[in-house]
Amino acid sequence: MSDLKKIRDEFTSKLKGKLDLAELNQIKSDLFGKNGLVSSQFKKIGNIDVSERKKFASDLNIIKDELHDLINLKINEIEKANINEKLEKEKIDVTLPERSFVRGKIHPVSQTIDEISSIFSEIGFSVEEGPDVENEYNNFTALNTPDNHPARDMHDTFYLDEKKERLLRTHTSPVQIRTMLKDKPPFKIIAPGRTYRSDSDQTHSPMFHQVEGLHIDKNINMGHLKGCLNYFIKEFFEVKKIKMRFRPSHFPFTEPSAEVDIGYEIKDGKIIIGEGDQWLEILGCGMVHPNVLKNVKVDPTKFQGYAFGIGIDRLAMLKYGINDLRAFFDCDYRWLNHFGFDPLDVPTNYRGLSR
C-alpha cells in the first residue's frame, strides 16, 4: 500500500519539475516499461491476499491512470510549444506574388456568334455553314442577282479567276442556297460566317462577319419576320423593350424587302440601345423572293418565308462599345485582352448571355 503511495508521490512531484521530451520518455519507461515500477506492481496482484486484492488492483489502476495522464499532458505541452516555436520561424511574406498565370480570351466576334446561336437556338433555329470560296451562281445568280444587275455594284467582290466564276462570298446568303438545295422544306436555319468585300477604310474591312437567317415553311409571313427579329434584338441587347423600325428597301433576293433600324441615344458618351430618337440601321431582311425558291426547287406556291442578314461585327461593336472595326482583325494584344471574353463564359440559354 505504501509502495503505491510512495511511487505516486515521488513521481507526481518529479513531474511537476521542468522536463524535456527525453526525460519524460525516461519517466514513462521507468513507470510503465517492461520492468517499470507500475508494471511490476501489476505482476504482484496475484500474490496479494484475496481480501485486499480488489482494493489493491483498484488503487493501482487509479495511480496508473493518474501518472499516465500527467505524463501525456506534459508531452502534449512540450509538443505544442515546439510547434509554436516552429511556426514562429516559418512565417512567410504572403504578399509576394503567386506563381504566374496567363488568361486566354475568346475574341468578341466568337463570343457574339455564340450569343446569337444561343438566342436563335431557343426559337428553333439550327446552325448551318458554307464555304468561304463560292461560285458566282450561289453568291449572285441563284439569289436573283443576274450579272447585269446594278445591285452587284454594292458588292465589290474578290475574284479568284479571270472569268469571275469563283469568288470570296460577299454575304452569307449562299448558305441559304446550299441548305435549300441539299434538303427539303421546312427550313429554319442561321448561318454565321466570314464574308468578304474589296472595301477597306475606317468603317469597312475587306473581311467581316455576317449571320444569315432563313425560315421557310407553309405560312410564314412578314409578321413572323418582325416577331423573330424583335425577339432577337431584345434578347441580344438584353433589354426589355426595343424601339424598332422596319422600312422598305430593296435586295434582289427578297421581296418585299426591309431594312431594320433600332432606336438609340447617346448618354454620357455611351450608346444606349433601345431608347432615344436616333435611328441606327442594323440589318436587312425580307420575304424570300419566289425566283430564289424556284432556283432551289422549292415550290413558291406552297412554301414561303423570310430571310435576314446581320453584320456580326457591328452587333458586337454596339453591344460592347467597340469603336473601330479594323481593330477586330489587328490582333493587338492589348485590345484582345481588353475586349476578349473568358473561355468559361459560354453564353447559354439557362445561365444567360453575359455575366
Partner: protein, 801 residues
C-alpha cells in the same frame, strides 16, 4: 438623288411640312441619307471678281488677291489655286461662312504672315462637283452679279435620297412625287405639255444599224435651228444650284433639268458638226474618240456608239464627245432622246471604267415611252430661252416596247404580308402609282407603267402595296419556342469546344483575314497550291492563306514590337487548299513566343518549348474526348517546323489522318522575317481529321470499376540507342501485361557520362496492379522480368544495373 421640297412641289400639291416629308420618304422606301441646309448660311457665298494678284512674299505657291466682293473696299484673300488670275469671276466666302464640304467655319487668319479675309472656293468645297483643281470659274455674265449671293434664296433644304437600284423612276423628281402622292402625301399635279409648233422636217438622217448586240433600240431626235445659246434664266440656274448642280449654258442646263425632273436623259449635238447623218452602231475594235471629260477612249468591238461619217460622236447613253458638243456659239442643235439597253450600257461602262449620270440612269432602265415627252419638254424650253425653230420629231426604232400585264390575286397580299387591305384600297394605290386596272373574276389584270422595269410578277405588286400602306401595319407575331433539330452539329460542337479549350490554356483568340501576304504564305505553303486573288485590296493581301501561321507570325511580330515578350495567340478558322468551293480545312493554329517564366522570384526562368505546346494540344484533344493513351506520335512534320524539334499526333496507331502538329518554327523562317524572341512554338490541330465519336456523352461513360488491391511501383532504367523513342518503350511495356500494368511514366532521360556516345538512358516508372488479387513478390518478380526481357528484345535496350 438630290431633291428639294420646292422642286417636289412642281409635281406635288401638299400642305404638309418638310419634317413630315422626310419621314414619309423613308417610310415608303426612299431613304433620306442626309439633309443639308442650303438656305441662310449659303447666302454668305458671293459672286466676286479678282482685281489683282501678287505673289505671296513668303510662299511660292500662294497668291495674295485683291477681290471685289461688291463692297467699297477690295478684300485681301490668300489663295493657292493656280487658276486664280486677274479678271476671274469666282465665288467668295467671307469669314464666318461655313464651308459645306468640310463643315468648318472660316475665320480671319494669317497665312504665312499675310492676313486673309475669307476664301475663294473650289466647286468641290461648295459641294457643287468633285472638281477640286482650282477655284470655281464663273462666266463673264456673272459680272453684273458681283457682290450678290451665288446661291438662290431658296428656303428649301437639299435632301439627299438613297434610291435603290430597282427604282430608276425615282431618279426623277416627278417619280418621287408620284410615290408620295400614292402614299397620301399630297396630290400629283398632272404635267402640262406646252404646245409648240413643229413645222419643219427633221432633215438629219438617223439610222440604227440592225446588228447583233445592238444596244440602242430606239432613237428619237429633233432639230432646233437658229438658236442663240445663252446663259440660263435665273429660275433655271437657281433650280440647278439648289440641287448642287453648276449651271453651264442654257442648252446644257435644259437637258440636265429635264433629266433631273422626269429622269429622261437627253443629249444635245451641235448639228453643224455632224457629218451627214447619225448612225447608231457597234464600235469597231480600236476606234477612238475624245469624250466630254476630255479623255480619249479607245473602244473595244461591240460598244454602242453614236457616229457620223467621220467616226464616233459619243458613247450612247454614257457620254458625248467633244467634236459635236454644244457651245455658246452653237446655232443649230440636234436633240437626242433614245433608249439604251441596260446590259449594254453596263458592260461598256465597266470595260472603260466610266461612270456618268446618264450611265447610272440608263443601266437602271429609262422609261422607253418617255422619248417623245422628253424631247418636247426640252425643245419647248430651248425655244423659250434660246429661240429657234423646232423640227418635227423623228423616232427610229428597231424594237417596240411591249406592255407588261400581271394577273394579281388580291388574296396573295395577306398571305405574304400578314395583314389585310381592302380591294378598293389596293386599286387606289395601284392607280396612283400609274397602273391601269381591269377587274376580272378572281383577280385584277394590271398593266404595268412603262417607267417601272422592276415590276414583272405578283410579288412585285405585293411589295408596292405594303410599301405604300406602311410597314408599321405589319403585325408582330412572337416566335414559338420549340426546337425540332439540335442547334449545332457534332462538328460544330467540336469547333466550339476546341476554341474554348485552347483559350482556357492561356491563348488569346485572334481573328485574322483569310488572305495573306504571298511571301509570308510561301514560308508555310509547302507543296500546297497558291491561290491568288485576281483583284486584291493590296499586293500584301494577294493570296488565300494555305496556313494560319503566316498571319499569326505577322501579328505576333507586331505585338513583340509593341514590347510584349511572352505571348500566346491562336486562331480557329479556314485554310485553303484550292480555289474551288469546299477546298478548305478548319484548323486550330496556336503560336507562343518568349519564355514560360520570366523574372520570377519563385520559378526558374525558362524558354517556352515544344513540350508546352504538346501539353496544350494533348490536353485539349484529351478534354475533347480523345484518349491520349492511344495517341501515336512521330516526328514527320511540314518543313516550316524545326526538323528535330517538332512532332505530329495521330489519334491511334492506325495513323489514319494527322490530328495535329506541334513544334518549334523553323529557324530559317524566323531569320527571314526577322522576328525577335527567345523561342517561337506553334501547333496546328485539324478539325476535319478528328474522328467524331458516334457515341453521345452518356454512352461514353463506361461502367465504373476500380481495383482496391494493393498497387506496386517499379522503376526501370534502360540504356538504348539514341534513335529509339520513348513511345516505343512505353508501347512494349504496356503490351507485356495490359491487365496488370495500369500506368507507365517516363521520369528521366539522360545522356552523357557513363552512357555510351550514341546511347541514352530512359528511366520509367511502372505501376502494377491487379483487379483480382494482391500480387505477391513472386508475381511482381515475374512481371518485372518480362518487362525487362520484352524491352531488351524488342528495342535493343539494356537494363541499367
Amino acid at each position: 438623288m438630290k431633291i428639294t421640297f420646292d422642286w417636289l412641289k412642281d409635281h406635288l400639291k401638299t400642305n404638309l411640312k418638310e419634317k413630315n416629308l422626310l419621314e414619309q420618304l423613308t417610310n415608303i422606301g426612299l431613304e433620306v441619307e442626309s439633309v443639308e441646309s442650303l438656305s441662310s448660311d449659303n447666302q454668305l457665298f458671293k459672286v466676286a471678281k479678282i482685281i489683282k494678284t501678287e505673289k505671296h512674299p513668303n510662299a511660292d505657291r500662294l497668291k495674295v488677291c485683291d477681290v471685289n466682293v461688291g463692297e467699297k473696299e477690295l478684300k485681301k484673300v490668300v489663295c493657292g489655286a493656280t487658276n486664280a488670275s486677274e479678271g476671274l469671276i469666282t465665288i467668295y466666302a467671307p469669314p464666318g461662312a461655313i464651308i459645306p464640304k468640310t463643315n468648318t467655319k472660316l475665320e480671319i487668319a494669317k497665312i504665312r504672315g499675310v492676313t486673309s479675309y475669307g476664301m475663294l472656293c473650289s466647286e468641290s468645297e461648295l459641294n457643287l462637283s468633285d472638281e477640286s483643281d482650282g477655284i470655281t470659274e464663273l462666266s463673264k455674265k456673272y459680272e453684273k452679279n458681283i457682290g450678290k449671293s451665288y446661291f438662290s434664296k431658296s428656303k428649301s433644304n437639299l435632301i439627299d435620297l438613297s434610291i435603290t437600284p430597282n427604282r430608276p423612276d425615282c431618279l426623277g423628281v416627278k417619280g418621287i412625287a408620284r410615290d408620295l402622292a400614292a402614299s397620301g402625301f399630297g396630290r400629283l399635279i398632272a404635267s402640262k405639255e406646252k404646245k409648240i409648233k413643229l413645222k419643219s422636217k427633221q432633215t438629219l438622217k438617223v439610222k440604227i444599224n440592225k446588228e447583233k448586240g445592238q444596244g440602242c433600240s430606239a432613237f428619237g431626235s429633233c432639230l432646233i435651228k437658229n438658236v442663240k445659246n445663252t446663259e440660263s434664266p435665273q429660275w433655271l440656274k437657281d433650280k440647278l444650284i439648289s440641287v448642287g448642280q453648276k449651271p453651264i449654258s442654257a442648252i446644257v442646263d435644259i437637258t440636265n433639268y429635264v433629266m433631273l425632273d422626269i429622269n429622261r436623259p437627253l443629249h444635245a449635238y451641235d448639228a453643224d458638226k455632224i457629218e451627214k447623218g447619225i448612225i447608231v452602231r457597234n464600235s469597231k475594235s480600236g476606234e477612238e474618240f475624245t469624250a466630254l471629260d476630255n479623255k480619249i477612249y479607245k473602244l473595244e468591238k461591240g460598244m454602242c456608239v453614236i457616229s457620223d461619217n467621220k467616226g464616233v460622236l459619243g458613247l450612247g447613253g454614257i457620254i458625248g464627245g467633244t467634236r459635236s458638243g454644244t457651245e455658246f456659239d452653237t446655232k443649230n442643235i440636234l436633240l437626242e432622246s433614245a433608249y439604251f439597253d441596260p446590259r449594254s450600257i453596263r458592260n461598256t461602262a465597266k470595260k472603260l471604267n466610266l461612270d456618268t449620270d446618264a450611265k447610272f440612269r440608263f443601266e437602271r432602265g429609262i422609261d422607253p415611252l418617255s422619248i417623245e415627252t422628253g424631247l418636247k419638254k426640252a425643245a419647248s424650253l430651248i425655244q423659250e430661252i434660246c429661240g429657234g425653230e423646232v423640227s418635227k420629231i423623228d423616232i427610229q426604232k428597231i424594237e417596240s416596247y411591249k406592255t407588261k400585264i400581271i394577273n394579281f390575286d388580291v388574296n396573295s397580299f395577306e398571305n405574304i404580308v400578314g395583314f389585310k387591305i381592302s380591294e378598293k384600297e389596293i386599286q387606289r394605290i395601284l392607280t396612283d402609282l400609274g397602273f391601269i386596272i381591269k377587274k376580272e373574276k378572281n383577280s385584277l389584270k394590271l398593266i404595268v407603267p412603262s417607267w417601272r422595269p422592276d415590276i414583272s410578277q405578283q410579288i412585285d405588286i405585293i411589295e408596292e402595296l405594303v410599301r405604300i400602306s406602311g410597314y408599321d401595319k405589319i403585325k408582330t407575331i412572337d416566335p414559338t419556342k420549340d426546337r425540332s433539330r439540335s442547334t449545332l452539329t457534332q462538328t460544330q460542337r467540336l469547333f466550339h469546344f476546341l476554341q474554348r479549350a485552347i483559350a482556357s490554356k492561356g491563348y488569346l483568340e485572334t481573328i485574322t483575314w483569310s488572305f495573306t501576304d504571298q511571301s509570308y504564305n510561301n514560308h508555310f505553303r509547302e507543296a500546297g497550291k497558291e491561290i491568288k486573288i485576281v483583284n486584291p485590296i493590296s499586293s500584301e493581301l494577294g493570296v488565300l492563306r494555305n496556313s494560319i501561321f503566316s498571319n499569326l507570325i505577322m501579328y505576333m511580330s507586331k505585338n513583340l514590337d509593341r514590347g510584349f515578350k511572352d505571348l500566346s495567340i491562336f486562331e480557329i478558322g479556314p485554310v485553303f487548299t484550292g480555289s474551288k468551293p469546299g477546298e478548305q480545312k478548319t484548323v486550330v493554329c496556336g503560336l507562343s513566343a518568349g519564355k514560360k517564366s520570366r523574372l520570377s522570384w519563385i520559378d526558374k526562368e525558362r524558354n517556352i518549348d515544344l513540350f508546352d505546346a504538346k501539353r496544350d494540344v494533348v490536353q485539349t484533344l484529351n478534354e475533347a474526348g480523345y484518349n491520349s493513351d492511344q495517341f501515336f506520335i512521330d516526328s514527320q512534320t511540314p518543313n516550316y517546323y524545326h526538323p528535330g524539334k517538332s512532332g505530329r499526333i495521330f489519334l491511334d496507331h492506325k495513323k489514319d489522318k494527322v490530328a495535329a502538329y506541334f513544334g518549334e518554327i523553323h529557324p530559317n523562317i524566323l531569320k527571314k522575317i526577322d522576328i525577335k524572341t527567345e523561342n517561337l512554338i506553334g501547333f496546328e490541330i485539324f478539325l476535319e481529321n478528328l474522328k467524331l465519336s458516334r457515341k453521345t456523352l452518356k454512352d461514353q461513360k463506361l461502367k465504373f470499376s476500380v481495383s482496391d488491391f494493393q498497387k506496386s511501383e517499379r522503376d526501370f532504367a534502360f540504356v538504348v540507342n539514341k534513335d529509339v523513342e520513348a513511345q516505343e518503350l512505353i508501347s512494349v511495356i504496356s503490351n507485356v501485361s495490359p491487365n496488370l500494368i495500369s500506368n507507365i511514366k517516363v521520369f528521366d532521360v539522360y545522356e552523357g557520362e557513363n552512357i555510351p556516345d550514341n546511347q541514352k538512358s530512359i528511366a520509367i516508372s511502372v505501376t502494377i496492379q491487379s483487379s483480382e488479387k494482391t500480387l505477391n513478390d513472386k508475381d511482381l518478380e515475374k512481371i518485372n522480368n518480362s518487362i525487362i526481357e520484352e524491352v531488351e528484345n524488342k528495342t535493343g535496350a539494356k537494363i541499367r544495373s
